[in-house]
């Protein structure tokens, strides 16, 4: 019952979030602030994760290539496919659900318990629109950039690992990366990035906005937002795969 109630509250909240901003100039300023906060400040963790992820995928693929019938470029092909289709959009989004989602939930939750949101409302500001819309927009704009960046670094990570451990040559790896490529793969990855960005920011904002109580409850909201957005990402991932790839 509580889940249904929350879904209803979430939908109502979204209808208020997606209304016309009070002033476009202020919205623009807040949007750039959020792009920096949500997007640019996530670059280091995305870079680190992606490089190691690409390296590990390449190594694991190489270590499983027992059959002499399988050509060596398969390593590059599998590294690219798994990176674009799954690892970069999904795993990176799950990590960002932890980093960005908990941050948003605790920021808005703290504003709620310290009456800053009430202060906005009393002034006549649509607090949901003012606080949440720039976050959602920033994430939906910048997550695809992060995912492309992640894909690139993963492939570089794979190449570095393979060449350093002498498991494949650069030419073979690049040939593998370029094999059987279709634009649909990237379209699928970027669609997932946009959908996951929306889910992470909106769910975190929801839990933050409806926080009640004190510091302990802010922590609870933050944890709950990470759990819920992770589950939402997994469900959306399944549905998008069904819809786009099959």
């Amino acid at each position: 019952m509580k889940v249904i109630n929350n879904i209803g509250k979430y939908i109502i909240m979204m209808t208020i979030v997606f209304s016309k901003p009070e002033k476009w100039r202020i919205f623009r300023i807040r949007l750039f602030q959020e792009i920096e906060f949500i997007g640019i400040k996530s670059i280091p963790i995305v870079a680190l994760m992606s490089t190691f992820m690409g390296g590990v995928i390449a190594l694991q693929t190489a270590s499983n290539m027992d059959s002499p019938w399988l050509p060596q470029y398969t390593i590059g092909y599998i590294t690219r496919s798994s990176t674009i289709l799954e690892f970069s959009p999904t795993i990176i989004s799950l990590i960002l659900a932890g980093k960005v989602g908990s941050n948003i939930a605790s920021e808005i939750g703290t504003m709620r318990v310290t009456e800053q949101i009430d202060a906005l409302e009393i002034m006549g500001v649509n607090s949901l629109n003012y606080l949440v819309l720039p976050k959602i927009t920033a994430a939906m704009l910048f997550f695809p950039v992060l995912i492309i960046f992640s894909i690139g670094l993963s492939l570089i990570g794979g190449w570095l690992t393979l060449t350093m451990s002498d498991l494949a040559s650069t030419d073979t790896y690049i040939f593998g990366i370029r094999s059987f490529y279709t634009d649909l793969e990237l379209q699928y990855a970027l669609t997932k990035a946009v959908v996951f960005a929306f889910l992470i920011t909106s769910i975190a904002s929801f839990y933050g906005y409806y926080t009640k109580g004190g510091a302990l409850d802010v922590g609870r909201s933050s944890t709950q937002s990470v759990v819920s957005s992770s589950i939402a990402i997994l469900i959306a991932n399944f549905l998008l795969t069904q819809m786009i790839l099959l």
Partner: protein, 256 residues
């Protein structure tokens, strides 16, 4: 002037406000007092629209707030300044940006004009030159004064103060009280103060509403609260021996 007529508010099975009617006068410091859990904060939140009333009317100069649509409410809210218990300053903004915030949202002022207005408001609360500090770098008393500066930035017609003295030492409390009184008289606004602080009530309360068990139990002036024989008010206002002594002294003074 703000009037509330027959307001009822229930949370679940708990009736918090029971047919409350009162009027809050323009150019006066109106106070809502009462013990914790009696409904005074809920009444204030109903007046500013943070809670919807179950029934009744909230009239801002004869405009019924409960019957207004979103845009009409927004217009009224821009005439309201509010000082919150915890100041509710925006952490990420400097003192100046906090004061300029409502101006940047609702006026077409240039940045220079907004800065002038912020400087004027900060000067008014004796915080000139503190523009670039962040709220976390200010003391509790300073934060309250910044919140007052923000509340008066838009030239409000109505000022709400929720427990303005909570967490402040007696000397700073007097500074805040005096500031609220001066601003009320200077700008001729309708001020409503929700408080537990009896010093404030005696010091600046022009029109006092006592809420008891969700009802408007008593309403009167500063002088009347001293002389009233209402047992509930006496039980609340003169709870301590010290206050009882003060009451006797004041009564004695009045008699002569």
């Amino acid at each position: 002037m703000i009037e509330v007529k027959n307001i009822n508010k229930t949370f679940g099975d708990n009736k918090v406000l029971d047919d409350v009617s009162a009027s809050f006068h323009k150019g006066k410091v109106n106070m809502i007092i009462g013990q914790s859990g009696q409904g005074k904060s809920v009444l204030a939140k109903c007046i500013v629209g943070l809670h919807e009333v179950d029934s009744g009317e909230v009239l801002y100069d004869n405009r019924d707030f409960c019957k207004m649509d979103r845009l009409e409410r927004k217009a009224v809210r821009q005439e309201i300044g509010m000082l919150f218990q915890g100041s509710a300053l925006f952490d990420s903004l400097t003192v100046e940006e906090n004061v300029m915030f409502p101006l940047s949202m609702f006026t077409k002022m240039t940045k220079a004009e907004m800065q002038d207005r912020a400087n004027f408001c900060l000067e008014r609360v004796n915080l000139a030159g503190r523009n670039k500090l962040f709220p976390s770098e200010c003391s509790g008393g300073m934060q309250k004064r910044i919140a007052i500066a923000r509340a008066i930035a838009m030239n409000p017609r109505y000022l709400f103060c929720d427990e303005p003295n909570s967490g402040l030492d007696p000397k700073t409390s007097i500074v805040i009280d005096n500031l609220i009184r001066e601003i009320t008289y200077e700008y001729n606004i309708t001020t409503i103060v929700i408080t537990h602080d009896m010093n404030s009530v005696i010091e600046i309360g022009d029109n006092i509403l006592f809420i008891y068990q969700g009802k408007n139990w008593w309403q009167g002036g500063r002088d009347e609260i001293i002389t009233t024989d209402n047992p509930e008010i006496n039980g609340f206002v003169y709870a301590s021996e010290f206050m009882k002594e003060i009451k006797e002294t004041l009564k004695h003074k009045k008699a002569h």
